[in-house]
């Protein structure tokens, strides 16, 4: 199982890591919104945003190649959609489909890179605390935290089950992959469900009252 891509690499340390997660979250949101709002065919503000982003990536200490690689993973969808709609954009008759498609692509590169940069300079736990302090619903934040915590446990379990499957099934045809994969998912599903029930019982036994507390970082606001 490839677990490395589940968690953005936080090993690089730069000045952006020290900023409050709320600031980073809101700044990223502002950058994304302003890039999305830019009309087609306006290049100068787009260039400005690109320079700003390049500067931020430069001082962040995150390897640019890493961000590019992760960005490339989601770019094919964007290219497909840009090709699909470039001809019929309202601005297409005036500017030509190449400009339209190119602008959509460029704007998407910017938004994708800025979100990836945020993920690489902010631990997920801090991002969630920031969300909570920005008055996101507690249930949502708690669900996301629990999901993130058990993601790696379940992915590990899936890896062990896949290894067991590989070591026991010698004749793998392409057809047998489907029922095998499905039974893998079903087994994981049953274990996840039971694990959820056990975790809940264990949390109740330790006096859980529905709030998450953390030893490091700022306290969540009183509700």
């Amino acid at each position: 199982m490839r677990l490395d891509w589940l968690e953005p690499d936080q090993s690089a340390r730069g000045p952006l890591h020290r900023i409050d997660a709320r600031v980073k979250l809101l700044a990223t949101l502002a950058l994304v919104i302003s890039v999305v709002l830019l009309p087609i065919g306006v290049w100068r503000p787009l260039g400005g945003a690109a320079i700003l982003l390049a500067f931020l990536i430069g001082i962040s200490g995150v390897p640019p190649g890493l961000l590019m690689r992760r960005g490339l993973a989601v770019l094919p969808v964007v290219v497909l959609l840009a090709v699909m709609i470039a001809h019929s954009h309202p601005m297409a008759p005036a500017l030509g489909p190449w400009i339209v498609g190119g602008t959509i692509l460029a704007k998407n590169c910017l938004t994708i890179l800025s979100v990836l940069l945020l993920a690489h300079v902010t631990p997920f736990r801090d991002l969630m605390t920031a969300l909570e302090r920005l008055r996101a619903p507690t249930v949502l934040v708690a669900t996301l935290l629990l999901m993130y915590r058990y993601l790696f446990v379940l992915a590990d379990q899936l890896g062990r089950m896949a290894r067991a499957r590989r070591s026991r099934s010698f004749r793998n045809s392409r057809w047998s992959e489907w029922p095998l994969g499905a039974s893998l998912i079903a087994g994981l599903l049953l274990r996840s469900f039971e694990r959820g029930e056990r975790v809940h019982a264990a949390m109740l036994a330790r006096g859980w009252d529905g709030t998450f507390r953390s030893l490091d970082g700022p306290d969540p606001p009183d509700r």
Binding site: S88, H89, P90, I112, A186
Partner: protein, 334 residues
């Protein structure tokens, strides 16, 4: 497929965002009364499960690529429609925040498509079929048909959101392609959902969500309304390409779905006039044929799977290589 940023217009972003927020709040309220304090834990673990289950790759036979489960209907069948939608929503949020997979501003649209339409709408298709067929075969057939439709309906919603962003002239072409591609993707989703549920039914049939006791009159009515909506959307998906060569076909569909406001109307007049429809009837016919064949295929496969399943219930040791793994000692580290 998640919608990236920069494709939807601001009205669409705001509308889908509002619908998504409303649906999310409604789902949370439903869940709090049903699951009470178990909500967070179960939802968190099940979201992690959906995330992990999407890592299992299934080889495709036609192209050298692999696909994976989406899980909207599977989550709805096991947890109920609203919990399924919320689970999909948290998965989408993490994918957008950590991997930039799907835009931040398009999060509302993605949640409407994959959470509300695929999970809640899929459940609205699954539930009547399950109840009319009955028993465990009903669960299997209903879930497979619903899984197929959920993929198709989600792609249809995506196409409409795109069209409402100012690309009305593309609607027939994009709709045709999207329907064809997603009819095939939906077959895979239906197959995986059916196979997974077969194992679940044989090991822990009590896990299947059942709201028999909790159904009130209002709940039943909303389900009927949702079912009708889903059915009409499905019909629209197949009829829209057929109707579009006629000049008012698009307006008919747009007006029926309530998306054709004045602003979009003015956009319509320009590009629609000189839109060439050469070759379009072919796509339209193929699309309709694909739709019919897909529904039939899913239904028949469901029947076969259900038949094979009921024969196997006497000894579910023969179900597959998964059985030894499931009976292994459970690790107690929670």
């Amino acid at each position: 497929m998640h919608i990236p940023d920069n494709l939807l217009s601001q009205p669409v972003i705001l509308t889908t965002g509002a619908v998504a927020l409303g649906g999310f709040a409604l789902g949370l309220r439903r869940l709090r009364t049903r699951l009470r304090d178990r909500t967070m834990v179960l939802m968190g673990v099940m979201s992690a499960f959906v995330f992990a289950a999407q890592m299992v790759n299934f080889p495709l036979f036609v192209v050298p690529a692999s696909g994976h489960l989406i899980g909207g209907v599977l989550a709805a069948v096991l947890l109920g429609p609203w919990a399924g939608a919320l689970v999909l929503g948290t998965v989408l949020l993490v994918q957008a925040l950590l991997f930039a997979d799907g835009g931040i501003l398009a999060l509302g649209a993605n949640f409407v498509n994959l959470g509300l339409i695929a999970s809640v709408g899929g459940y609205a298709i699954y539930d009547p079929i399950r109840k009319s067929v009955g028993g465990q075969s009903g669960v299997l057939i209903g879930a497979m048909v619903a899984a197929w439709f959920s993929v198709l309906l989600a792609s249809l919603a995506f196409t409409i959101e795109l069209a409402a962003s100012g690309y009305w002239s593309d609607l027939p072409r994009v709709l045709g392609w999207m329907t064809m591609i997603h009819a095939v993707i939906g077959l895979g989703e239906a197959m995986i959902t059916g196979l997974v549920l077969r194992t679940v039914l044989s090991v822990r049939p009590d896990l299947i969500f059942d709201d028999e006791g909790a159904t009130t009159r209002s709940g039943r009515w909303s389900r009927v309304a949702l079912g009708g909506l889903a059915a009409s959307l499905a019909v629209a998906a197949f009829l829209a390409p057929l109707a579009s060569p006629k000049d008012d076909g698009l307006e008919f569909v747009g007006g029926r779905l309530g998306f054709l406001n004045d602003e979009a109307g003015s956009l319509l007049t320009g590009p629609m006039r000189d839109y060439s429809i050469e070759g379009l009837p072919d796509i339209a016919l193929v699309t309709a044929a694909v739709g019919l064949i897909g529904t039939l295929t899913v239904f028949i496969t469901g029947l076969i799977l259900a038949r094979a399943f009921t024969q196997n219930t006497q000894n579910h040791n023969e179900l597959g290589p998964s059985s030894p793994a499931e009976k292994g000692p459970e690790p107690h580290a929670a």
